[in-house]
Subunit: 192 residues, 2 copies
């Protein structure tokens, strides 16, 4: 018999998402979240550096997954393809079966500038990390950053569509479409 119920972190994340959805981020206290999860405020701060961080657990997993997939991928893939493949694998593993929760999280973020700032920071860090991973595969730093940034822009477009109510396609497919659109758009030039 364990002294405590397992999965404290997961329970806190679920409770927070529920309460933020019901009452909004600002109007929800850490004490409430902990109570709903059957834990104390102190335990919340043992697991999360601050109140916002409870919404970004998936981001860390996503980053790890992406970096692993880039490192494990075919070395001969061009940089953008390498990133897009990794993003697709990560999306399949971490997002596809959690559409409801991810969409609710997205709605909470959309309603709160503080949380959007945190999201921007995480994305900037992720972009840099992807660039570093590409660089480790032999890509020069500038190309690596351009490929990472381009992939993240496509990912944003795909993710935005994926969270629309009636969207049925997988994030991977939407990302593939977005990358194709990006390739078309970037290729158009007055010079020709």
């Amino acid at each position: 018999m364990p002294r405590w119920k397992p999965d404290a972190v997961e329970r806190l994340q679920a409770a927070a998402l529920e309460l933020f959805g019901e009452q909004g981020f600002e109007r929800t206290t850490v004490a409430e979240i902990a109570q709903r999860a059957g834990l104390t405020q102190r335990t919340f701060f043992n697991h999360f550096a601050d109140k916002r961080e409870v919404l970004f657990g998936l981001s860390s997993e996503l980053q790890q997954e992406i970096l692993r997939e880039i490192a494990a991928g075919d070395d001969t893939l061009p940089p953008l393809d390498a990133v897009v493949r990794a993003l697709g694998v990560a999306a399949d593993r971490l997002f596809e079966d959690r559409r409801a929760a991810v969409t609710r999280r997205h709605a909470v973020l959309a309603a709160n500038p503080e949380l959007q700032e945190r999201e921007l920071s995480k994305n900037a860090v992720l972009t840099e990390a992807i660039a570093t991973a590409l660089n480790a595969r032999g890509c020069d730093p500038e190309t690596a950053f351009l490929a990472a940034g381009a992939a993240m822009v496509a990912q944003q477009v795909a993710f935005q569509k994926w969270t629309l109510p009636d969207e049925k396609r997988s994030l991977r497919d939407l990302l593939s479409d977005a990358v194709n659109s990006l390739r078309t758009t970037v290729s158009q030039t007055a010079g020709t």
Copy 2:
């Protein structure tokens, strides 16, 4: 004879940049900045919403300039070219003759996560604004966002180089190079 010296905003910005460079952002108070500019703390907060904002005056001008140039540009230019042309014009008008000040500002930002967050927010807003401006020229929203995001990634690469000590080329030229690199990188695909 004016009652006060002119250019209060400019003097505050210059004083802030000096002090942040000498002592760091955190260790500089608004009162010090105001004093060095020959003004009071009250005047500082009349012009800037908070301490960070004193470093982002140029960002607002830049955004206005870019949006104006996109709106005024040749309607037949492809979206990415339209943005890049506007960024180039804005860079020439606002950055080229202030390399020293802009570089010092960049160093201050690099040393402070709080300021980097603000910068990320400003860039996100700018990207959205550029997309909206493209959309107003008849570009569909998805293409507009992809072009805006791609241009901003190239701009980041160019700006980073432009602030290196021995870099002599203009930001416009560096941006042009970065966009060419981006086009090359994004075009590479395993599918061919």
